[in-house]
Amino acid sequence: MTTDDPLVRFDGVSKNYGDFQAVKGIDLTIGRGEFVAIMGPSGCGKTTTLRMLAGLETPSAGTITIDGNVMNDVPAHERDTPMVWQSLALFPFLNVKENVEFGLKMRGVEQSERHGRAMLWLERMGLKGFEKRRIDQLSGGQRQRVALARSLVTEPQMLLLDEPLSALDAHLVIRMQGVLTRLQKELGITFVYVTHSQSEAFAMADRVVIMGHGEIAQIGRPQEIFRAPKTRFVAEFVGRNNILPGEAPGQELVVAADRMTVSAEQPEGRAIAAEFVSEEFAGTGIICYFEGPDGAELKAQVTEAQLESLAPEPGKRFWLSWAPGAEHVMEAA
């Protein structure tokens, strides 16, 4: 998980705005060539963390190290941490090629080389022939690719992405996810991707950092986070699972929806009686929603064939059970 020679290190990094502590002493290492997603609800400190990495915010405490150098006081323009912005922040008074060339120009790269490198990236992003266009003459997907080209043309060792897909249509999001994962593999550079969307983070990232209330709640591979959420906060944020009381007092279990079995008869072993509420088609299967004892919402993923044989109706009683070992015991909150 942690390499011996990480690219980025956060050591006890905090950020205060007056009395409000946006980030509370986080420790995090990011490896070279790793795709890390920082995920959490709005206001959890994920964007502040990313902005500190880019030098747009100064940590109030702790140190940020990039490539072995302490970066706390290095201004943004002296860092090599290009970012793709939520608003894209393309320069409206420059055309496509001038936007892509901007970073090279600021670094004093001479004109002919600038042109060559910009054109190469425009071609790579499928924007050949658009170089003279104005930004407002492009579609959302095209702008996205201009923003990527603009950030990557300087060949950085790390790319920061701040909810870059949140403004796109659903079908474009899936396509851009493919573009981003492929790019990251091809370039072999580090991607730090901030998002509130589980599906984006789980689809692309090697490692997911879940943040809540300015703290890191859990770090792990997507499957780990999904199967074994450390705390109730993580389990609830990730969703598609059931939070159940454990055997010891105060203990809680989590069982993923796809590991829950629905049966009409009471099975052997531990099972929960629950009333059917509704179903939702979810691509990979059907999520059935139940109301358990004391009103808890329970979820189970079933196939279409299973749904047909169960013939659920709202209010109908079922038994939910899971194979031994499918549950995960969470830390007490």
């Binding site: 323009h77 608003s87 922040a89 320069f91 409206p92 901007f102 600021m106 603009r150």
Partner: protein
């Protein structure tokens, strides 16, 4: 519905007539051969223009006005932009007071402003100089320039500057290659508008101009002597100059709102 439309059309026409009738009258009489502004009109002539612009003091006044307008507009725009940018970029404790002070000059009665400027510039030894008029007009124009620049900056994505820093541009470089280009339509518009304000301004200029008269001051002095159609001719030129500046400013404001 129909009556309402009709009424508002009539109202619009009446309003513009009311506003522009005196100016149109002055323009018409500037081409009228009669000595006094009476109807029926005499014949068409450019005589008044020829006599007016044959006078060297008219050329001097126009020269003074243009120099003052250009300098005051440049200074007002620079000052207004800096003030607006400070407001956009930084949060500080006395910001409301800062903004109120920056926007205060247009609320001061012009006579008071003229007197105050005369006293102050006199103390600095600048009264009666073109520099003095430039200073006075800069004070009067800067709030307008600031308002225009603020409007434009409010349309700027706050991430735009950060994006430039992020791509390796120092704060000064960002100002030069991102903020100023983004605000360029507003800057030109502010320049034109403050130039028009200065070019037309008479009261304060009258107080501080001394022997270096601007066009409006000269018009008043000619008027004090006698009623002469040359005034109409000069007035028409002044009006057209200001109108051109204002129209250019407006076009740029409209254009920038569209993007």
């Amino acid at each position: 519905m129909m009556r309402g439309t009709l009424f508002s059309r009539f109202y619009l026409v009446a309003l513009f007539t009311f506003v522009f009738a005196p100016i149109v009258t002055s323009m018409v009489f500037s081409f009228n051969s009669d000595r006094f502004p009476t109807v029926p009109l005499g014949s068409f002539t450019t005589h008044w223009y020829q006599t007016a612009f044959a006078r060297p003091e008219v050329w001097t006044a126009f020269g003074n006005s243009l120099v003052v307008a250009a300098c005051a507009a440049a200074l007002s725009t620079a000052l207004g932009f800096a003030t607006a940018y400070t407001d956009f970029r930084y949060g500080f404790r006395f910001k409301p007071a800062y903004l109120a002070l920056a926007l205060l000059p247009p609320t001061i009665p012009l006579v008071i402003m003229g007197l105050a400027m005369l006293a102050w510039l006199g103390r600095l030894g600048l009264s009666g100089t073109l520099t003095g008029i430039v200073i006075a007009h800069t004070v009067m124009g800067a709030p307008f320039a600031m308002a225009i620049c603020r409007l434009r900056l409010s349309q700027m994505d706050p991430a735009l500057e950060a994006a430039a820093w992020n791509l390796g541009a120092s704060p000064w470089r960002t100002m030069r290659s991102v903020v100023v280009p983004f605000c360029l339509p507003a800057l030109i518009s502010a320049f034109c508008l403050t130039a028009a304000v200065s070019f037309d301004e008479f009261i304060v200029a009258w107080f501080v101009s001394g022997l270096n008269k601007t066009v409006p001051v000269m018009i008043l002095e000619i008027l004090q002597g006698n009623v002469d159609p040359q005034i109409n001719a000069i007035g028409t030129v002044v009006f057209l100059t200001s109108m051109t500046l204002v129209v250019v400013a407006q076009l740029l404001i409209l254009k920038k709102s569209a993007t």
